[in-house]
Symmetry: C2
């Protein structure tokens, strides 16, 4: 009985520790992303990241081997979050126009929700190792392919004009990504309104009739 209680307490403590670690890790990544986006990856040191949080650098080194691992983790998390979002949209089995609309909306919202992360994801790929870069090139191609497949279905269904998919998909991504440079949280339009405008512009812009 006492032993069970002891085990329970240990488990709770262990869970709390993991939660705290996950929280600190996320905190470090968010601070690093803000610094990377502001001054470029090369100009930022582990010391800069730590002191922007009021930590010593040993705290950062407890979670990350080096700056490359911090940067890589930002790329990893963007990829995971975005693919999960797209997968759950595609599972809904919507008709092409609604599906494309939902994907554009989600992508735009994701960009505006984490502007610094997006800036890094699309700008600082060259700062990764060549092996990491290969993985990201492949992932970006797969992500684009989701949009291309849906667009092609719309063309086949006679709903969308036959615009070459690299042009339309890069146009969508470019339009949505640029919000990272001008959208200001809490000022002007809400992210949902901006995203909805882009959905309408693209769907109206591609429709056959």
């Amino acid at each position: 009985m006492l032993e069970d209680e002891g085990l329970m307490k240990l488990k709770v403590r262990e869970e709390l520790k993991l939660k705290k670690q996950a929280y600190v890790q996320e905190e470090i990544l968010t601070a690093a992303a803000a610094l990377f986006a502001e001054t470029g990856v090369r100009a930022v040191t582990i010391d800069d990241i730590a002191s922007s949080l009021g930590y010593t650098k040993s705290v950062v080194y407890y979670y990350f081997k080096n700056k490359n691992q911090v940067l890589w983790e930002i790329f990893e998390r963007i990829h995971e979050a975005w693919s999960q979002d797209m997968t759950s949209i595609m599972e809904k089995d919507l008709p092409p126009a609604e599906l494309l609309g939902a994907m554009i909306r989600q992508h735009a919202l994701n960009v505006m929700g984490r502007k610094a992360w997006t800036a890094i994801y699309f700008r600082d790929q060259a700062e990764l190792t060549s092996d990491q870069q290969k993985i990201i090139v492949k992932r970006k191609r797969e992500y684009d392919q989701l949009f291309k497949t849906v667009y092609t279905k719309g063309v086949e269904a006679g709903i969308f004009r036959d615009i070459p998919t690299p042009v339309i998909v890069s146009g969508i991504i470019g339009m949505a990504n640029f919000t990272h440079a001008w959208f200001k949280e809490g000022r002007g339009l809400a992210p949902e309104e901006i995203a909805n405008h882009y959905v309408e512009i693209i769907l109206n812009g591609c429709r056959t009739a």
Copy 2:
């Protein structure tokens, strides 16, 4: 007579010298832009720029005081070229939809014509001095304003839907700018075809009926 001939020769020689200087200056800026775009401004030295052209650094220093002046000159030239292009389009006094179409087409062509320069213009503003940054912020706002004014005229004429101008104009610029990341000269579609697709997507996407 002989004196006149001598003067003529001197003038020709002087003109040739100026032409050569302008050529070398342009050559240096193009090489610098390629390096800046590839590895980021901070990682590039005057030595790197010089050796990428097979020059010693004294050649670069003959034309530019320091790296900041090279970078600033890239920003200056982009601004001059783009404003001249937009001014001559606006002088044609076209109706709003054609005018906006011509502006979108020209902006997209300018981006694809000088991908590295565009990447720098939209990404590396933070590498300028704060006085230079203020000038660029003002210029970008004025450039956007040209598009906003034309769009608003279209809304007033009942041709375009009433989309908030920051959303539509940033959407256009974002869509066109992203070509710097994916467009490859001589592969796939020609710049004119890509630009025309974007004109059609935007005009159809914004039209009231």
